[in-house]
């Protein structure tokens, strides 16, 4: 019984751990990808996961900026840049 309670108590930290680990996968994909448009999308997914993480860490003020800037403005800016310099690396 006590193990079940401690599991529920720690559930939020387990979720945070899963989110943080998943974000690493998307960072690796973003670094490895040769298609720059895909890179932007992967980094946007990673930003979304970070926004979730910040929300679970009780920082709603930061979430509001982070979502608007890193999922809205930054991909837009990067896509604009990719449009001018070309989509494929190498």
């Amino acid at each position: 019984m006590s193990t079940v309670i401690s599991f529920i108590e720690n559930l939020v930290f387990i979720i945070m751990g899963i989110i943080a680990t998943t974000s690493i996968i998307f960072v690796v994909l973003a670094v490895q990808s040769k298609d720059l448009l895909k890179t932007i999308i992967f980094s946007a997914v990673q930003s979304t996961l970070y926004a979730l993480l910040l929300f679970l860490l009780f920082a709603p003020d930061i979430v509001l900026v982070y979502v608007a800037v890193s999922v809205g403005l930054l991909p837009l800016l990067s896509i604009l840049l990719v449009k001018k310099v070309g989509r494929y690396e190498g």
Partner: protein, 271 residues
Amino acid sequence: MKVRNIFFVLLMIFVVLVISIPTLLGAFGTIPPEHLRSIAKQYLFLSYNPYNKSLWSASPEVVAAIVWDYRGLDTLYETMVFYTAIIGALMLYSEILGSKDVIGGKGLSFIVKRGTAIVLLAILAVGISTVLHGMITPGGGFQGGAIMAVAPIVALIVFSRTFLDKSKLTYAHFISIRSLALLGVILAPLIPLISNAFIFQNQAKSLPIFQSPIFFTYPSTIIDVPMGGLIAILNIFEGIAVFSAFALAFMILLYSEELSRKPLEGEDIGY
């Protein structure tokens, strides 16, 4: 190539272990912390305490109280940094600022335009409500401004630059709106100085430096809604400033290549 990949994977595993092992061994103390730090206790106790108004800020949202009242000067310098960054970006393109684009675009199809028009209103409404509720809910000037800034950028892409060039809203308008908002951010905290208060102090606190005959504080409530005095005013100014700054930056970036190449010419021989 294969060796490079192996090294990359090993590096990633190493980074994850370096971060996670100290955390699991308790290098950051117990997570979550079992007790508040003393300064956090003071902020939580004093920020909205109508029974002890000696150091209160009249803002139920403690983060907003810290950002704009207790640590108001820090936020002022933060605003200055953002201001300088945008001015620097505008300076790089000073030759073409405010000029009409040479290529006339039509924008996207009619359906996309109408759909976007509705979504733009919704984005602006969310941003404005985030700004106006900065003193009661999480959010505030910068947050609301950044949310609102998505609207002009989407509009520039969907309706094309020609739409902006034809409209009455010019580059000079954006610059003057932004300058006025920043002037507001600087001047509004100075007003309490005429009475018994310090700079960036929205409520009269029981720390008089000299006895002034004028007694002035920003209203702590309007009807029965907590307004946070100066915090609400500063949030509105900051929201407008951030919104117009982002809009200006993207207005330059979305110039056609033909025009935006002009400031870069002759860069190799120096400015």
